[in-house]
């Protein structure tokens, strides 16, 4: 068993992927706690697709894909934040149009401009931890560390603003800035995860482990910690599944995360059903629970 577990870790490039996947699993779940509770999954998905176009542009222009993806995703996050704060409700349609359009531009650019890189770029669509190079791992660790550090520093403010933005603002917290900060953290998380999990599956990596944790606890901090555990466990399980079954890593990791969710939803405590989760969140001002 030990040999079976250790075998892939003997290869440097696999060990690198292993460490990267665990780090990504943890960051995604910590940020995912806010995403699940505030119903930001769709925005996260949009940011991932927009980041892809940033990656394509970076390849075309010949600079680091991290810079391209970060610029694209953070700009999109600021845009989405501004739109949703101005109009307040139902920004889904405009975000849907906006992100599909930009993603389409990325696809077109990819096939027009850079045929030779097509294989590489496909790994960003579906994720490949084997493509994580040494520099990439360093970027993941630094950016991930910054995201976790900021959440730790502003933990209580982010909690208050997520739970009750109006009262948080009236009590003197900079609610709009904190909500914007959350979207920026989400976009950085998406960018960090895209290489290993892929544009298409990033949102699952962010939402699923946190949602699994939500089914097991009534405490915000516990949900965040448990989510990180489920995220890391999914990364580890998916890593071995990917290695031994020879399947893409992104798909394998998300599949394990989904299985964990299904198991907890079925055998977990009854008082919190999956349906309660499905009908909550989503721009808390919109969806309400009867008193």
């Amino acid at each position: 068993m030990i040999d079976w577990l250790m075998e892939p870790l003997g290869y440097t490039f696999l060990l690198r992927g292993f460490v990267a996947a665990i780090m990504i699993g943890i960051i995604c779940a910590v940020v995912g706690t806010f995403v699940v509770l505030k119903g930001l999954a769709f925005i996260g998905d949009a940011l991932a697709h927009i980041a892809f176009t940033g990656i394509v542009v970076a390849f075309l222009a010949g600079f680091s894909f991290y810079i391209g993806a970060l610029i694209a995703a953070v700009l999109a996050a600021l845009g989405i934040g501004a739109v949703s704060q101005r109009t307040g409700i139902s920004t889904d349609t405009s975000i849907g149009i906006f992100f599909s359009g930009i993603f389409a531009a990325g696809i077109v650019l990819m096939s027009l401009g850079i045929q030779t890189y097509t294989i590489d770029l496909f790994s960003y669509l579906f994720g490949d931890i084997l493509s994580v190079r040494r520099d990439d791992l360093i970027s993941i660790m630094i950016l991930g560390g910054i995201v976790l550090g900021i959440i730790l520093l502003f933990y209580k403010e982010l909690l208050f603003v997520s739970f009750d933005p109006v009262v948080a603002e009236s009590a003197g917290l900079p609610a709009r800035k904190l909500q914007m900060l959350l979207l920026i953290l989400l976009s950085v998380t998406v960018v960090v995860s895209v290489q290993a999990v892929g544009v298409v599956l990033v949102v699952a990596m962010i939402v699923t482990p946190s949602a699994t944790a939500y089914l097991l606890t009534d405490r915000f901090g516990v949900m965040m910690a448990l989510g990180a555990v489920f995220g890391a466990a999914s990364a580890i399980g998916g890593f071995y599944l990917s290695y031994y079954a020879d399947v893409p890593s992104g798909g394998a990791i998300v599949l394990v995360a989904t299985l964990l969710f299904a198991i907890v939803a079925i055998i977990g405590p009854k008082r919190r059903s999956f349906w309660q989760l499905a009908t909550s969140g989503t721009d808390a001002s919109q969806h309400q629970r009867p008193a």
């Binding site: 509770l37 520093l153 502003f154 209580k156 403010e157 909690l159 208050f160 997520s162 739970f163 009750d164 109006v166 009262v167 948080a168 603002e169 009236s170 009590a171 003197g172 917290l173 939500y214 606890t217 009534d218 405490r219 915000f220 516990v222 949900m223 919190r272 309660q276 989760l277 909550s280 969140g281 808390a284 001002s285 969806h287 309400q288 629970r289 008193a291």
Partner: protein, 277 residues
Amino acid sequence: MVVEVEAVPEALAEQPDLPAGPAAIRVEDLSTGYHDEPVLQHVDLNVTSGSLVGLIGPNGSGKSTLFKTMTGLQKPWQGRVLINGQPGEPGSEVAYVPQTETVDWSFPVTVGQVVMMGRYPRLGFLRWPRKPDHQIVDHALEMVGMADFKNRQIGQLSGGQRQRVFLARALAQEPSILLLDEPVSGVDATTQHQIFELLDQLCKDGVTTIVASHDLSCVAQRFDHVLLLNRTVHGFGPPEDVLTQDLLNRTFQSHLLLLRLGNRTFVVEDPDHFHHD
């Protein structure tokens, strides 16, 4: 709905009496609204420190907007709001308890955590709650009678209990001004009584409190001042001066009738407008 008001004098109180004490809240020629739609126009108001004011007016009369302007969430288009002599800014001085229907009750926080949120702005960034903060939270929970529920998730509480938890969070802010939007709607009589006992005590301690309420009977009996609002101030003063047929007609556009039996006065809903709310 029938409301009993003690001995209404014949003279109508058109203008609010200017209170003698220092003004906790001073509103001067305030106009504001949303987008291009004005909600409040030319509001003038002087609330003495330590008053308990009942704010009544029909739906859409601007009660919540007035509160938001006092907390600094809504900016005046014209005029100004002074809180203890200073222009109103969001902060701990004014605690606002909005109507709770927009709260996500499935959010994984406990009663104790929600009340502790009231301490966060005073704590400031990068500081964690310390022993005095925990003591203030415990005290606030005791004041509203919710100390036994500290570790419950908020979704497990009844409507009245939730109201009391949000009131406790406001108290944990240690405000000098408390603004409550419909705190006793959907609350049982016992809880309602407890909340008003608490508000009476807070006023004796010098906390200025304004309570928006639909419940005229409660306003008539429980408050030392009544503020009639419908886009502007229609009356402000002791209940016996302000709850008159003329002023209620102006505020509610004749949806309410004032009936007199001997020296007692009742406010009833006009049957023709029975479904106004």
